[in-house]
Symmetry: C2
Subunit: 200 residues, 2 copies
């Protein structure tokens, strides 16, 4: 298995190309660090972008929704889709308004998705998805029954045309601003779990 | 000013319509709570979705990027765009794998964006944007100069065709599962600021 994804006209990072990467391990780590994918399709009424739960298994990205989900159905029809996942890592505070920025890690995937019809593959993908939400419980919750499997739509999108983009590190101030008297640096942003709220 | 946005064929929430809302205050609060907008446009090579910084001012959403940003340029050409912002609020742990979910608040905006060419409007939008990153510092950092203003692209997208979708509260377990012996409830997810990392 190669360690990088091929660069294509759609995935070549143009703006701040130094932030671009096609490294498979990096792409996987970003996808595995996110919880929500932003899924775009074209429609007769223009583009639509909606948030979806997803799971990665090897070089396949599974998009998850209800059978009546319009964007999933549109994506299942074989049209091009674009899926984006972004992790926000920090606020970058510079001396000038212009040089303010954010640290982030993002992935963009292009391709065509196909419905998962095989129940074994579906169960495996759902298992990955539940483990993302609750790693310790996937083996002890009630497993999907036949009706639930039929009532879950999963699309498989191959990770083949994909790129990552990452900004990290301190602000980049202009040399002329170095004496401007404000604090500069990065405020990390971290997602933490709050106090569990038990159901009644 | 009306308190709700009109429902259009594009914004009518179909799946889980009870989660849908067109309430202006709710829409604004979600947009003001997020940092990254997921901006979708159609292109000759299919849909593209990329993350962007944004700011809301009244009923205008400003999308921010470099003049060379391809998606911004595409959006500036007058095509339909779709902008989505999602806040992830919690992991919803149910008794069955199927009923696992996430609590979230999302907004989807449809429309056409126009480039902001007026420097006064640009400065005001940039001020809102910088205050989102660093509320206390917008008045003390160096303000944008003419070259920086020219080097910043802002698009204005009117908030007119927009909807929100919100899931909150505990898992919804099947009555038949109520004796299944696992913890159920919600794990809140909260974004916190880490220890500031001063630049050298």
């Amino acid at each position: 298995m190669t360690t990088t994804y091929p660069v294509t006209p759609r995935t070549r990072v143009r703006r701040h190309s130094e932030r671009g990467s096609y490294d498979r391990e990096l792409v996987h780590s970003i996808l595995d660090g996110g919880m929500i994918a932003h899924v775009g399709v074209g429609t007769d009424r223009g583009p639509r972008v909606i948030p979806m739960m997803y799971a990665r298994d090897g070089d396949t990205l599974y998009l998850h929704g209800a059978p009546a989900n319009q964007v999933l159905n549109r994506a299942a029809s074989g049209v091009d889709v674009c899926v984006e996942v972004t992790l926000l890592d920090g606020l970058v505070l510079a001396r000038s308004a212009f040089n303010h920025s954010m640290n982030y890690r993002s992935v963009v995937v292009y391709g065509q998705a196909t419905p998962v019809t095989d129940d074994t593959e579906k169960l495996r993908a759902l298992d990955v998805l539940v483990r993302r939400i609750t790693p310790d419980r996937a083996d002890i919750v009630r497993a999907p029954n036949a009706a639930e499997l039929a009532g879950t739509r999963l699309l498989a999108l191959p990770l083949s045309e994909v790129s990552a983009k990452v900004r990290s590190g301190p602000p980049k101030d202009d040399p002329a601003d170095m004496d401007w008297p404000v604090w500069t640096g990065v405020i990390p942003l971290i997602v933490v779990q709050g106090e569990p709220q038990p159901a009644e």
